[in-house]
């Protein structure tokens, strides 16, 4: 996803001289090409995320369209107050880019895992929040953010990505949920690269006659409540899936939106981290199994809700 983002920015930089990419001294080997081609549009600000964010606000107030780039929580939680006061309050045209959403940086450790970022950035006024599920969504969200003026935005990029889900001629619509698989039994709503696990789970459940509707929630804010409401009415229940804390993230957002709309799905389960740090060492795929976020865990959850015997599934 990171490469898709850099590719889009490299493509658009000449057409949009106002574009600027700021990095907090990360992106070894990844940003070299961009910085060499567009030295006036690139800045390595050093290991100084607070300054990067305030600086970005200052640049945006002068007409630049700014991207701040770093890993995990560094461009977000480390400098949250600069994001809130300097970027959001001034409605500054700044996109905060996190590479390594969720547990992308698996064995590196919890310091590099972004597992509360959606919940923390989502309530900031005017902030749009994107967490693409596959490479096409990552490219298109990047293109949307880089090609037109907008307010503050957060782009959470995952190391993993679902297999391509795009249909021929499909147009990316920010703020709307993509139905990447039709189904009328259960809704699996995923955000980020973990969409891949949701699709795998849907495959496995299909073998047992369970038809899953799979939604890719690439935009967590604003949230497409209409599509969720329809899913609540047309399927037996909704399972939210995120590589993130269940509180305040996608699961929280869906619960808020549906409750307020007066809609209650047949059942509702949030799959994500529950009041826990990702402290086990392992790859992203391994950690998903440890924290019950992988396809098998999704299958188990759905089976339980539908009353399908576990032996039937595991066989």
């Amino acid at each position: 996803m990171r490469d898709a983002f850099v590719r889009v920015l490299t493509e658009l930089a000449p057409k949009h001289p106002e574009l600027m990419l700021l990095t907090g001294d990360l992106g070894f080997g990844v940003l070299d090409n961009f910085s060499a081609q567009f030295p006036r549009q690139f800045l390595n600000v050093g290991v100084a995320e607070q300054n990067m964010s305030g600086l970005a606000a200052g640049l945006a107030l002068e007409g630049h369209s700014v991207f701040t780039y770093s890993i995990g929580n560094f461009p977000t939680l480390r400098c949250l107050e600069q994001i809130r006061n300097d970027i959001c309050y001034h409605g500054a045209n700044v996109t905060i880019v996190c590479v390594g959403g969720g547990m992308s940086y698996g064995p590196v450790g919890m310091s590099h895992h972004a597992t509360e970022d959606l919940a923390i950035l989502r309530p900031l006024p005017a902030m749009e929040v994107f967490a693409p599920g596959d490479l096409w969504e990552a490219s298109e969200a990047s293109r949307y953010l880089a090609s037109r003026p907008h307010g503050p935005a957060y782009l959470r990029l995952d190391k993993s990505a679902a297999k391509p889900t795009v249909r021929p001629g499909e147009v990316f619509r920010p703020g709307s949920i993509r139905t990447v698989r039709e189904g009328s039994d259960v809704t699996l709503a995923a955000t980020g690269g973990i969409l891949g696990e949701a699709l795998l789970a849907a495959d496995q459940l299909a073998e047992h006659g369970v038809r899953c509707r799979v939604l890719s929630v690439h935009t967590v804010k604003p949230l497409d409540t209409a599509t969720l409401s329809i899913a609540a009415a047309e399927t037996q229940g909704i399972v939210s899936i995120e590589e993130h804390a269940v509180d305040g993230g996608l699961g929280g957002a869906i619960a808020e939106a549906l409750m307020e709309a007066g809609i209650s799905p047949g059942f509702f389960v949030r799959i994500g981290l529950r009041n826990t740090f990702s402290s086990v060492v392992g790859s992203q795929a391994y950690l998903r199994t440890v924290y019950s976020l992988d396809a098998a865990s999704i299958v188990r959850t759905v089976s339980l809700k539908l009353g399908i015997a576990e032996e039937a599934i595991s066989r």
């Binding site: 600000v45 607070q50 964010s53 600086l55 606000a57 200052g58 640049l59």
Partner: protein, 274 residues
């Protein structure tokens, strides 16, 4: 290019202090000591240094002023109102229900570039504005007024490093160096001395000045950049609460609302200075 209009900065400073006193009295606001500390700096800036135009507050070529010590917002509002950016009448809405004049400075007011209040933010924003100006080859300058207390913030020094790395000679940091911070003297909290040496060693061109001496302030601020190719830092040695004897050098008047006899006495002192 915008030409600054020159006014009697001493009279302007006196009016800023009197407005601020009335504003904090009427609204029940605080930080009068911090406002008095930098009233002379604001008066010199708005009395002929800053190239700004009240009829075109967003003019592309204007000098940008960032009040990083946002708690002195009352002082900036007074300076702007006095220079015609908005009606002086508006000042007395400070701190009041429904007003735009929040205690910490707000960019909703014409002439205010950015809202601040949390310390250690302003210089980073000023860096960004200055960097943009440099990229575009623009002629305007960026002035940023900091408190000494906010030099405790690591983010301030991140911004200091950036400005010298990128030779932001269009950037001027003015530190209101009154040696008192939130609830105690600096010497008892986090000593900043050798203060000028810190800025110098970080690559800035530094001057020190009596922050209440208008001629000295004016001549220093008219001489920026102090060294070509470097950002400039003016350390203005000030007295917190300057202008009212019983407020001077007092931690209490960072917070206390001037009311009753204290208000009358303070006003009498300020008026006596005419």
């Amino acid at each position: 290019m915008i030409r600054p209009t020159t006014v009697d900065s001493v009279a302007l400073a006196r009016r800023i202090r009197a407005h601020a006193l009335r504003m904090t009295n009427a609204g029940g606001g605080s930080h009068i000591g911090a406002i008095f500390s930098c009233a002379d700096i604001l008066a010199v800036l708005y009395g002929g240094i800053l190239r700004v135009d009240h009829e075109a507050p967003r003019h592309r070529d204007r000098d940008r002023f960032v009040l990083s010590k946002g708690h002195a917002g009352g002082g900036l509002y007074a300076a702007l109102a006095e220079r015609g950016f908005f009606p002086v009448d508006k000042l007395l809405t400070h701190y009041q229900n429904g007003s735009d004049l929040s205690g910490h400075v707000s960019h909703k007011l014409p002439g205010v570039e950015v809202s601040t209040g949390a310390l250690g933010h302003g210089l980073s924003i000023a860096d960004g504005i200055a960097y943009s100006g440099k990229l575009k080859g623009a002629r305007h300058r960026v002035f940023c007024l900091l408190s000494d207390g906010e030099c405790d913030e690591g983010s301030t020094w991140e911004a200091v490093l950036f400005a010298s790395q990128h030779r932001l000679s269009n950037l001027v940091a003015i530190v209101d160096y009154n040696r008192i911070q939130g609830i105690a003297p600096i010497s008892e909290v986090l000593e900043l001395e050798p203060f000028a040496d810190k800025w110098t060693s970080f690559g800035w061109a530094v001057r020190e000045v009596d922050g209440h001496d208008h001629a000295a302030l004016r001549s220093a601020l008219a001489a920026v950049p102090f060294i070509q190719g470097k950002p400039s830092c003016l350390i203005a040695r000030t007295t917190k609460g300057k202008g009212v004897s019983f407020m001077e050098n007092s931690v209490l008047w960072h917070y206390r609302v001037p009311r009753g006899e204290e208000f009358n006495a303070a006003l009498a002192e300020l008026e006596g200075q005419q």
